[in-house]
Subunit: 428 residues, 2 copies
């Protein structure tokens, strides 16, 4: 059995998980795959902190270049987009294959990295960059390769899903749950990457790229996080038979691709709506396979390590059979005609207006919608809300620019009391 | 771009789906994978029936040998275990790689077929044999390769899941739903393979084999179908917070493997319990990844074709990079110490006794359980059931032989009025 030398750069949470996996499951992996993985080097600037995993003598060092020299495969787990980029390019240029979990780097500099991998005829894999332990990239690239992809809906940020789950279950406001999540370590001190949707956007861009054959960044993506969601919206959604999730949405509508990250109402009875707490789930709909769902832990030391080591195994299987670049890091080949701006996308919408409770309010609001041929599918105004009331409207499919134009005009009504909410509804 | 010649033997439901996919999505598959698949031959004894797909001139023939001669890859979709076996062996011995969806054949003769593939240095893949369009075999063999597998629970028979869903939703008995399912084409005229659990058992054996490195047949597996399930059991399960599903269950308990197919109570709030109608779902729990779930259509012309063509792509990628047998059909390498007979497995149980409603009944029943140290976790007896009443008991974990011994003794009680029900409970 051939032995492959693995070097890990970045001995943080995921790095420690990868090291633990390579040491603990080495024999099992060899039995299952015929690949014997040998950890030869772990590089990190901090060589003293205890990571709860016992490294063999002489493995730990503080020099990434040393890791590259000593290994056949380099695992990049330092994060960020500067040193990580240099490290990956150095490894590729040294003729070493690379495994990374760095979604932000891929979304930003994917094409440059893929070109370097191609030039050096080595592999660059990134299963762990999307949805942690769930093998969704392999599913999209290989398992569902026979399909045109119609839609992908992904719950891909555990922090957001955890916050939404607790808000709904405990009836607590966003700020309170966020503070508690930070205390418990489920949210970063600076939570913006997660709660403002950028992390989900990086992952959405990667899945869209694999689905449609152009490396999409997040530059032109509409990205909305969950910061402005109120408990009231979660509760109205439930009352109406839906649940609000932060969704990465990718669609192919007659050859035109739509992409966004937005809090979205999905039907409560859909399996995707049952994904709670820190778990992730990705629904992929293909023209032949129909709807599929892939569910699991989207983050964490061990789950992410599972995906990283799966990539290492893939690289090693390629080495073993002389088939490096059997599947390239990314294959260009556009399977769409255009990208539709969000304003021109058609969807159903949830609107919540906060208005003065007085005669004629509903008449004037519904007229504004009617003027734009926006059709109402349901409407709720509860009794006894006090002076200002929430008026919740679900629409039939309408173009976003019509909805935004209506919202603009609604905001100018004298009875309008606060910024209205507008969320998309997706059916499954 | 290299072109690979594909021959399909068996032009039935799935065969027609594969042909449709290869013709319709050829360009998309080429863009995504770099593999150009060319359908060169479709062989079937019936060359006249319209399958709703237009074959190019000269493709259809009635000779499987002709398909082997004309192709690099042979797709076996004839089903059964005699001609199909000969066909696969002929193709392998002619140096052609094979893709099949034939779970019964694999469960019965897997080792012989794998040996022939190895001898001839070609590939033999079978993604479509388990859970239709869901890429679960790839997930287990590659995506989750870094994990020791703790448990696999699979809902893998669409017919059974459809019947259970309708019984529960409509409050209709098994016989009535089965008859309707047969009328609608969701169940075979001879439904035994599905409803008596054998189909699920074949799939369970394949997943267990991939998880633990020995090719298991179904010979020693405990297999129970859904034929004896009564509406009352489904309703009691719901009342107790569970739902009954026909589960293929695979577990590794301290190095000992447990395998069975049985109707099983699982917690209603578990995602697996939300899989309804003809859909399939497989929960895989690994030591690093934790719980994952893979969901989709388990059967049908197009979904199954999706999995078959994914295998063809894998074979073709191997050809293209000179890496045939990069991943062998099956890799022997046992990752367990023993197989535990069902009688010695420990589980929680659901018992429903049908007894005469008279003084002392509960006392005598619970004494029989207590004598075997079987602890009761809950007990229901509803009022106003008439002369004979159902007494439902959920137990704490107990060994199956203790439960069976208790059931034997319970059946001899003078108050016993009918065969008691015994189902396993699995937590998620």
């Amino acid at each position: 059995m051939k032995e492959l030398k693995v070097g890990v750069v970045g001995f943080g949470t995921v790095g420690a998980g990868v090291v633990e996996n390579l040491l603990r499951n080495r024999e099992v992996i060899a039995k299952r795959t015929g690949v014997m993985l040998t950890l030869t080097c772990v590089a990190d600037l901090d060589t003293t902190t205890d990571r709860g995993v016992a490294l063999p003598e002489g493995i730990l060092c503080n020099d990434a270049a040393e890791a590259i020299r000593r290994s056949d495969i380099i695992v990049e787990l330092v994060g960020g987009t500067t040193f990580a980029k240099k490290l990956i390019l150095d490894a590729l240029n040294a003729g070493k294959s690379v495994v990374t979990a760095n979604k932000a780097l891929l979304a930003l500099h994917g094409e440059e990295l893929f070109a370097a991998a191609e030039k050096n005829n080595v592999d660059l894999y990134y299963e762990a960059s999307v949805a942690g332990g769930i093998p969704i990239i392999k599913a999209l690239r290989e398992g569902l390769a026979a399909n045109r992809i119609n839609r992908i809906f992904g719950i891909m940020n555990g922090t957001c899903n955890y916050i939404l789950t607790r808000m709904e279950r405990e009836g607590v406001n966003f700020d309170e749950v966020l503070a508690d999540a930070q205390r418990l370590g489920y949210a970063e001190a600076n939570p913006s990457l997660d709660i403002d949707g950028f992390d989900t956007a990086h992952k959405t861009a990667i899945l869209a790229s694999l689905a449609y054959g152009r490396w999409f960044g997040i530059e032109n993506m509409t990205i909305e996080g969950i910061r402005d969601l109120e408990l009231e919206d979660l509760n109205y959604a439930l009352e109406l038979g839906y649940r609000i999730k932060l969704l990465g949405v990718i669609k192919n509508v007659n050859g035109a691709v739509e992409m966004s990250v937005r809090p979205t109402l999905i039907p409560q009875e859909a399996l995707l709506a049952g994904i709670m707490d820190v778990f992730n789930g990705v629904m992929v709909e293909g023209d032949f396979v129909g709807q599929t769902l892939f569910y699991g832990r989207g983050a964490g030391r061990q789950a992410t390590a599972s995906a990283v080591v799966a990539d290492i195994v893939d690289v090693a299987l390629n080495y073993n059979s002389g088939a490096t670049r059997r599947i390239p890091a990314f294959r260009q080949g556009e399977q769409f005609e255009s990208v539709t701006p969000q304003n021109e996308c058609t969807s159903r919408y949830y609107l919540r207006l906060i208005v003065e409770d007085c005669p004629g309010v509903i008449a004037s609001i519904t007229k504004i919608l009617a003027d734009r041929e926006i059709s109402i599918s349901s409407l709720i105004q509860h009794e006894n809300q006090g002076e200002n009331v929430s008026l919740v409207i679900l629409t039939h499919p309408a173009m976003e620019k019509e909805i935004r134009s209506a919202m603009d005009e609604l905001s100018k009504l004298s009875v309008n009391r606060s910024t209205a909410k507008m969320l998309r509804i997706e059916e499954l």
